[in-house]
């Protein structure tokens, strides 16, 4: 199980309405690693996550997640996701606790059928415990009853992280987890991700925050429609590589590094 790579893409192509976003992406992310995906805006970083999530269907290529198909692993609850700020409907009438509880919804399908027709407090306490723990982990327990729309930017990010944590998945996909976050929240989020990696989970983080990528990630993948390079943070975040990333990179060179 742990031998299979967290993510294995082979010659992946994807497009929105004939507009190509991912071209010939091949990469292998070993399980238990923290990978930062870096690239310019609109370069297909989020699209790569979307292919894993199943919201963007690849035109060609193959994707394996922990040795099985992505859809199998999604149904098995192995993939947790933390969306970009703009992707979330903050006006939606849900409390912090309910939002984090939605992270358990996939696992709840395994509960006996009657649990879905009774109030949550009579149902499996496992889910409530996981939610409490996740809320404690991001220091949001005292805000559990508040509507999500009332929170500050950093608190909103922490709630979304808590939702992903509550799922107790094998892989965490994070889309810009540090964007627009106050320094204490940023430290807290990074500390929690460190904890998850120590627990053997794989982290894939799309980010613009190069210092934190350099400091925390095991490896960095540079993406600008093609894979420009993948390797150790110091090597990938050098001035020369970043310059190459900005101009769109040389796909051949990038592929050689990946292979």
């Amino acid at each position: 199980m742990t031998d299979a790579p967290a993510l294995e893409a082979r010659r992946l192509f994807a497009a929105y309405h004939r507009e190509p976003v991912l071209s010939d992406i091949s990469l292998t992310l070993a399980a238990g690693q923290w990978t930062a995906i870096v690239g310019p805006n609109g370069a297909g970083k989020s699209s790569l996550l979307k292919v894993v999530l199943g919201t963007l269907r690849p035109l060609r290529g193959e994707l394996r997640v922990l040795g099985a198909s992505a859809s199998q692993q999604r149904r098995a609850g192995k993939i947790a996701y933390m969306p970009q700020h703009e992707q979330v409907e903050w006006d939606f009438p849900v409390s912090v606790r309910e939002t984090v509880m939605t992270g358990r919804y996939g696992l709840m399908r395994r509960d006996p059928w009657w649990q879905r027709v009774v109030p949550q407090r009579w149902a499996n306490s496992l889910h409530r415990d996981a939610v409490d723990e996740a809320l404690d982990a991001v220091d949001m327990r005292e805000h559990a009853a508040r509507p999500i729309g009332e929170l500050s930017g950093g608190q909103k990010k922490r709630v979304m992280l808590a939702r992903a944590l509550a799922q107790q998945a094998e892989i965490l996909l994070l889309d810009e987890p540090l964007a627009g976050v106050d320094p204490p929240s940023e430290r807290l989020i990074l500390r929690m991700l460190e904890r998850e990696r120590r627990a053997g989970r794989s982290i894939v983080m799309v980010t613009h925050d190069l210092p934190s990528a350099r400091q925390h990630a095991d490896q960095v993948a540079l993406i600008n429609h093609v894979l420009v390079g993948i390797g150790a943070p110091d090597e990938m975040l050098s001035d020369a590589m970043l310059a190459q990333l900005a101009v769109g990179g040389s796909p051949k060179g990038g592929l050689c590094v990946a292979a």
């Binding site: 939606f92 009438p93 849900v94 309910e98 939605t102 996939g106 709840m108 027709v117 799922q167």
Partner: protein, 308 residues
């Protein structure tokens, strides 16, 4: 069939008796209208339609499906006409054209550069026009008027049964699929990440919408049903920040508007559909001003206090 019919009639009688228990507790001036048999049936229909429209309107408002609701309600017309021609139940035809139209909208959106709002406008006006043409050929204009604008005072037993059935199906579906529906409405991407079948949820929700629209046909009519699918949910959204209370409030707003509109329609001899929607709109306006947290008065007061 006759057994089913008998069962249905029995259920209707029982529910009417139950409603009348409540009505008889009210003052004479209010309850007098309900001595008539047709008013009792209209009351039951109004309560049912108000409840299911209210329940679904929360999803419509939060999912930004107002225009889609409008599109489906118009697209139902040719289906009703064709079903009438073939002697089928209205619901079958209405459901087929409603579903075809929403599929057509999706196809145009995905495969051309036309934007979603234009795709919806295009498809539903075309379907509606087709419906008008067919009906103008086969039915009297009063009949058309009733389909377009509703006539709750003259509701037929078959329509009442359909409304009852639609109500039960909708209630059961929302109860059993509460979590997938909530998650899909709130964050479809997360629903997909957790391996839910979002296509099934999407079309299931559209199916419930179509069912509700057909069930409301005789009460508020095709043109105004979309108001009942928006206004109660919008009102509830201003009153609460929790999902379950929002569902409950929009159901209550739906029922209250339908019953009050029915009474207004009876006393002043005006169109029932219009009266019902006007009451709903009045409730919305009241909420817009006076809602405890999201109302205009509170907001202005807060702003004045901050600027001082």
């Amino acid at each position: 069939m006759s057994l089913l019919e008998g069962l249905g009639n029995g259920l209707i009688e029982a529910l009417i008796a139950l409603l009348m228990l409540g009505v008889n507790l009210l003052p004479e001036s209010f309850s007098a209208a309900f001595e008539y048999r047709f008013m009792q049936r209209a009351l039951l229909t109004a309560v049912l339609v108000g409840a299911i429209c209210g329940l679904l309107s929360s999803f419509v408002v939060l999912k930004r499906w107002s225009l889609l609701g409008d599109a489906i309600s118009h697209a139902v017309l040719p289906g009703v006409a064709i079903a009438y021609l073939l002697g089928w139940p209205f619901f079958i035809g209405a459901f087929i054209t409603g579903a075809l139209t929403s599929l057509g909208i999706g196809a145009i959106e995905r495969h051309t550069r036309i934007k979603p709002d234009a795709a919806m406008g295009l498809m539903f006006t075309a379907a509606f026009a087709l419906g008008i043409v067919i009906i103008s050929k086969i039915a009297s204009s009063t009949h058309l008027m009733h389909i377009l604008f509703g006539n709750v005072l003259g509701v037929q037993t078959s329509a009442l049964l359909l409304t009852l059935m639609a109500g039960l199906v909708t209630l059961l579906a929302v109860w059993l699929a509460y979590r997938p529906l909530l998650l899909y409405t709130f964050d479809p991407q997360q629903a997909q990440a957790l391996g839910f079948n979002v296509g099934l949820i999407h079309y299931g929700l559209i199916m419930l919408l179509t069912l509700t629209i057909v069930a409301s046909l005789e009460t508020v009519g095709i043109i105004l049903v979309v108001a009942m699918l928006i206004t109660p949910g919008a009102t509830a959204h201003l009153l609460t920040d929790r999902f379950k209370p929002m569902l409950a409030i929009s159901v209550l707003v739906g029922i209250a508007s339908a019953v009050a509109g029915l009474l207004l329609s009876f006393h002043f001899d005006v169109a029932s559909g219009g009266a019902i929607v006007l009451v709903a709109t009045a409730l919305f306006c009241l909420t817009l001003f006076a809602a405890p947290r999201h109302g205009l008065v509170v907001r202005l007061w807060q702003r004045a206090r901050l600027s001082r």
